[in-house]
Amino acid sequence: MEEISKEEALKLLYNMKLIRAFEEKAGELYAEGKISGFLHLSVGEEAVPVGAISVMGPNDYLTSTHRGHGELIARGGDIKRMMAELFGKKTGYCKGKGGSMHITDIKIGHLGANGIVGGGIPIATGAGAGIKIKKTDQAVLCFFGDGAVNTGAFHESLNLAGLWKLPVVYICENNFYAMSVSLYRSHAVKEIYKRAAAYNMPGVLVDGMNVEDVREKVKEALERARRGEGPTLIEAQTYRYYGHSRTDPSNYRTKEEEDQWKKRDPINTYIKKLKEKGYLTEEDVEKMDKEIEKILEDAVKFAEESPEPEIESIYEDVYA
């Protein structure tokens, strides 16, 4: 495995922590009734977007999911505008019209979260086809969950990408549950990465609780894509600590199972590793936490103080 510099390692940790803090804060605000709508938290899954996006090129693209705050933050999304969008404010990413599931930021190559499971997969594939037509060396990271793997959109897209050798890296954030139904109760083939064989592309299993493992495997896949060798299907096994959404009682899985996964927490294990390497002290962690807390405080303040969208804006942006 490639040695990661101290600076890079701390950045990975910082981004994972920022995502978790954002999610925890959003969860609190939702409980307080300050955020409405649908809220799908990715706590526990942070290593996947952070590791994967850390090796994206500046001009690359990504598509994300309904559980998509992690991808946007890892890509450098604006925390204030994200929070304002969750509050439904005019200053939000989507001017209050999208909410949590539809944030898009073309300036950083973010082609949208998505409210439809599997909905982003054909779009990422289309961006890959567009890149091939334009003959640039860009690539696309396509994030989706284990549930999306069972949609027709997944099958149609991966077949097309495998056939045309499109520069797309398909990253399944496998948290083992499609809302309440476990992978073991919904997938004929339990090893998602093995499905790659049907599409003439490599299938790679990744430890989604290990940010460096994700990074390494996605880096290889991106290099393959840029060499014109086509797509890769990566299965990153991970776990969401909270329910599907904020109204989910999680009655379909056991406390024991949850605890087993939490022992492998991507942030705690990485802190331990970086301390052992001498990259990090407890004081550094505290300093990082303080910095992040401040960013979130500022974001919440910005969101709370921002104006609501004007009624007249209802008709804006229906058509370009």
Binding site: G130, A153, L163
Partner: protein, 324 residues
């Protein structure tokens, strides 16, 4: 002006736009080597190569997603769904994704694609290859819907659709591909959302579109013999609809009939009827009559299919009812 077919007019539009803008490309089932199920794209694969005229697998959702993803990053895809009946296989990508992307993202991105498809009966294609499903798309904010009836309109509107920054559903008719008509030698476009008066008249307004216009015109000329002067309007674009043109005509004639090939219930005509009722009902001197396809799946047998789709006789009956 030269005389060319609807098919040739569409092909000219595609070719000219591909020459004009290197970001325009075509993708769909059988559009390449085969030249399109209805031969619209014939020759374009040879001229532009497989990078810009892409044969795809039978994967309608992926075809539309291919358009959306490529459009998001700056291309101008013209995707083809072979039959409008097959858009059912891509509805998430059309309705939930492409149509709403601009709005949901607060204007952050746009989706400038054209989805070419064709509908309509007339070939004994039966219930899965003969439908006119355009009203589904008219219902969805964020989409534009075009349904041309002549070679002139087909060419001018397809060029405008390709240059438009929104997702446009471009509905051709399988029985119009061989229809000939005058098309200028020189470059032209037709604005989206502008209808035309195909035939002026003073007694009754008859709104129709796509192939049904031909039946509407037959009805109008037959009734002329009885002294009924029919004004025929072709909105050409179904969304946004040129309601002003229809209102002005209704104000003049005080009678409205809509002839359409889609189903009677909640079809395009239902919307026109409702809109006229809301806006200019005081000018009406009779009931608004919709002459539409019967509310049954389209049957295969020629005799039955012919009965389901409104012909000139049924339109004439409708006009007489509106004037009673």
């Amino acid at each position: 002006m030269k005389e060319i077919t609807y098919r040739e007019a569409l092909r000219e539009a595609l070719r000219e736009e591909m020459l004009r803008d290197e970001n325009v490309f075509i993708a769909g089932e059988d559009v390449g080597i085969y030249g399109g199920a209805y031969a619209v794209t014939k020759g374009l694969y040879e001229e532009f190569g497989e990078e810009r005229v892409k044969d795809t697998p039978i994967s309608e959702a992926a075809i539309v997603g291919l358009g959306t993803g490529a459009a998001l990053i700056g291309l101008r895809p013209v995707i083809e769904i072979m039959y409008i009946d097959f858009t059912t296989l891509a509805m998430d990508q059309i309705v939930n994704q492409a149509a709403k992307f601009h709005y949901m993202s607060g204007g952050n991105v746009k989706v400038p694609w054209v989805l070419r498809t064709q509908g309509g009966a007339g070939r004994s294609g039966a219930a899965q290859h003969s439908q006119s499903l355009e009203s589904w798309f008219v219902h969805i904010p964020g989409l534009k819907v075009i349904a041309p009836s002549t070679p002139y309109d087909a060419k001018g509107l397809l060029k405008s659709a390709i240059r438009d920054d929104n997702p446009v559903i471009f509905v051709e008719h399988k029985m119009l591909y061989n229809k000939k008509g005058p098309v200028p030698e020189e470059e032209y476009t037709i604005p989206i959302g502008k209808g035309i008066i195909v035939k002026e008249g003073k007694d009754v307004t008859l709104v129709s579109y796509s192939k049904e216009i031909d039946e509407a015109m037959k009805a109008a000329y037959e009734l002329q013999k009885e002294g009924i002067d029919v004004e025929v309007i072709d909105p050409r674009t179904l969304k946004p609809m040129d309601f002003e043109l229809i209102f002005e005509s209704v104000k003049k004639t005080s009678h409205l009939v809509i002839a359409e090939e889609d189903h009677y219930t909640l079809g395009v005509g239902a919307e026109i009827s409702a809109k006229v009722s809301e806006e200019v009902i005081e000018y009406l001197d009779g009931p608004i009559i919709r002459v539409a396809a019967l509310d049954v799946p389209i049957p295969a047998a020629r005799k039955l299919e012919k009965r389901v789709i409104p012909d000139a006789t049924r339109i004439m009956d409708g006009i007489r009812r509106s004037l009673e």
